[in-house]
């Protein structure tokens, strides 16, 4: 499971970085979204990769960390998702404004002459 997750995070982050470096604003947005997915998965994986051990106190179950996953990264990732979503939405608005003002979707507002 660790290998798959690491691969997924790596592929997402790699594609994200590549897209962020592209010259079209929409590609940049997609790149930022992919990057934030990678980051969110990464935060989540920092806790502990275990299956079916929710961080809930269940009567009868022993209350030690061997029987529960770490709840803090889960709380962190929720916050990070919300913030990332909001800022990406804001970025989309700026993208649209830029598209309307410059009549092009190049990040510098100029068509390159190549």
């Amino acid at each position: 499971m660790e290998a798959i997750l690491a691969l997924v995070i790596g592929v997402l982050a790699g594609s994200g970085v590549w897209l962020v470096l592209r010259p079209r604003t929409f590609q940049v947005v997609l790149g930022l979204v992919l990057l934030s997915y990678a980051v969110n998965l990464f935060i989540f994986s920092v806790g502990s990769l275990v299956v079916a051990r929710p961080p809930l106190v269940v009567p009868g179950a022993p209350t030690d960390l061997a029987h529960h996953s770490d709840p803090v990264p889960q709380a962190l990732v929720l916050t990070a998702i919300v913030i990332g979503f909001a800022t990406t939405a804001l970025f989309l608005v700026v993208l649209l404004a830029s598209r309307g003002l410059h009549r092009t979707d190049h990040v510098d507002g100029l068509e390159d002459f190549a």
């Binding site: 962020v20 604003t25 940049v28 930022l32 990057l35 934030s36 990678a38 980051v39 990464f42 935060i43 920092v46 709840p71 803090v72 990264p73 709380a75 962190l76 929720l78 916050t79 990070a80 919300v82 913030i83 990332g84 909001a86 800022t87 990406t88 804001l90 970025f91 700026v94 993208l95 404004a97 830029s98 003002l101 410059h102 990040v107 510098d108 507002g109």
Partner: protein, 550 residues
């Protein structure tokens, strides 16, 4: 312990409440909103001064005020910590924010909707980031400030703003991603997010994990250095600050300091000289990067003509100086750097406000103002109480602008007699004293380089400002009387008075800065203060809440 236990949280709550109030007012009653904005900023300055006084009155020890935000003791809940460094930056924020809020009353606040609520939310983010003692909470406050800054930057719209805003937001979103990865790695290694707890854990990290910890710290540092505008990750800064409206640019001068503050806080706390194998992690890089930033800013200043860009490059110069001083890390250098921080920020903010006045003058009076000054709404009650204050024209604006510009130039270039000179002198003597005394120095070459770069940047700043002054004030072809409004002149005057005050009370301020540097040099006291804060007893101690959920 403090007489007012909840005072520490006030700098966060006050702007939030003010912003909510203004949102309730709606977007039409902008004059009332601008009055609330300025009043809240003034109140915030008062609160910050009260915190500073309280923290400083505590003497050498026990001065740090710790606030347990959800009444959970230290490693479990979020803590807000007001020590000397935080208090100093709160007061600086309050001063600049009040001036910018006053300035925005006349024109900018009316150019679009929601300027004032965003202004207060930016303040909330800044104040919170200066106060918090929790790494993830720091991220949240960073994002609050950044989200508000995106909106404020675009305020007034226009091609230049949208274009630089696009770059600014993209760069900062990437930086936020790095910030998050860094937090996750540090949490994975140390198992905690409370800064004091991280500081206590770092020396005990197993050798096998130390590389990963350093990688996480490096990612965090990269994120902060992007905000602090270190070369080569600072190309976003100058176009952004040039495009922003004047009061927003003045506030943005503070946002760069936020990056410097965070580095100062985390590196003196977690990677201090006492941190075992991680002691002074990457300090050499800070010195090198700081020097590079300083030189880049200096070259930029001399190469560029528009005054707003020159002001942006002067921010880079001060950022580079601060980073280099942070990398040198001696107590004397830190104390001088703190004084320099105050002086340079006040000067840069004043310069940004002044530049707009000068540009307005150059563009033939009110050409630019007319475009952004919309005809008042029908229910905007301009002509009753506000008009005499907002609309009064000063009789001798040109002389005033020229004088203001001269004071600004003296402050930025670091000439005697104003505070810029005191700051540079303190820095130079802090850098040179260990070399001259022949004691054990970490990097004499870096010291000499910083010495030379500081003097050079001062000279260049002087030349550039003199040239600009000649261009704008002496080559006049009978300029029309520029419309300097009273509320726009007052904040510039206030900031300059702050610069003069820093000079007159230099001894007191330097004493405080010295005490701050001593406090930063003994992180154990900070850690102990955070851990010895007890939750308040009570029948309704709140039930457990997820840490760091905003």
């Amino acid at each position: 312990m403090p007489t007012l236990p909840h005072l520490v949280v006030a700098p966060v709550v006050l702007p939030l409440v003010a912003a909510m109030l203004m949102l309730l007012l709606g977007s039409r009653r902008r004059v009332l909103a601008s009055v609330i904005n300025a009043a809240a900023a003034l109140l915030g300055l008062g609160v910050a001064a009260a915190i500073l006084w309280q923290v400083d009155a505590g003497g050498d020890r026990g001065a740090t005020a710790v606030y347990l935000a959800s009444n959970w003791e230290a490693p479990f809940g979020i803590v807000l910590v007001a020590d000397r460094l935080s208090a100093l930056l709160l007061v600086l924020t309050g001063t600049v924010a009040f001036s910018a809020a006053l300035y925005a009353m006349s024109a900018w606040g009316r150019a679009g909707v929601y300027f004032h609520p965003l202004f207060q939310l930016l303040l909330m983010g800044l104040n919170g980031a200066f106060l918090t003692g929790d790494l993830f909470n720091l991220f949240v406050f960073f994002e609050v400030a950044l989200a508000a800054s995106y909106g404020l930057h675009l305020h007034g719209s226009g091609t230049a703003r949208v274009k630089s805003g696009l770059h600014y937001i993209a760069v900062n979103l990437v930086a936020s991603s790095l910030f998050l990865i860094g937090i996750a790695v540090v949490y994975g290694i140390t198992g905690t997010l409370t800064m004091a707890d991280i500081a206590a854990t770092v020396p005990q990290v197993a050798d096998a994990d130390r590389g990963l910890l350093h990688a996480g710290a490096a990612l965090l540092a990269t994120a902060f250095l992007i905000k602090a505008a270190m070369w080569p990750v600072n190309f976003w800064l100058v176009p952004t600050y040039q495009a922003a409206s004047a009061p927003v640019a003045a506030l943005f001068a503070l946002m760069t300091r936020l990056g410097v503050y965070t580095l100062l806080r985390l590196w003196t706390l977690c990677f201090s000289a006492e941190a075992g194998a991680s002691a002074r992690l990457g300090a050499d890089l800070f010195v090198v990067g700081g020097l590079a930033t300083l030189l880049f800013g200096t070259i930029g200043m001399i190469a560029d003509r528009p005054l707003a860009r020159v002001a942006g490059f002067s921010i880079l110069v001060s950022s580079g100086t601060l980073l280099a001083a942070l990398g040198l890390g001696s107590e004397a250098a830190l104390s001088a750097a703190l004084y320099y921080l105050l002086s340079a920020t006040v000067a840069a903010s004043a310069l940004f406000l002044l530049v707009e006045q000068i540009e307005r003058m150059a563009s033939g009076g009110s050409a630019r103002l007319a475009e952004l000054d919309p005809e008042p709404d029908e229910d905007t009650n301009l002509d009753d109480a506000e008009m005499p204050l907002v609309g009064r024209r000063l009789p001798i604006p040109l002389a005033l602008l020229g004088l203001g510009f001269m004071i600004c130039a003296v402050l930025v270039a670091g000439l005697p007699p104003l505070s810029g000179f005191v700051a540079k002198l303190a820095l130079l003597s802090a850098v040179m004293r260990p070399i001259v005394d022949g004691g054990p120095t970490t990097a004499p070459a870096a010291g000499w380089l910083l010495f030379a770069a500081l003097l050079l940047s001062g000279l260049v700043a002087l030349v550039v400002m003199a040239k600009a002054g000649i261009r704008h004030f002496w080559t006049s072809s009978a300029p029309p009387l520029p419309p300097v409004k009273f509320v726009e002149a007052l904040p510039i005057l206030l900031l300059m008075l702050a610069g003069v005050g820093l000079t007159l009370r230099a001894e007191d301020v330097l004493r405080y800065a010295g005490a701050t540097a001593r406090e930063l040099a003994t992180p154990a006291a900070y850690v102990e203060a955070v851990f010895s804060a007890d939750p308040r007893p009570g029948p309704t101690r709140p039930a457990g809440r997820a840490e760091a959920a905003p």
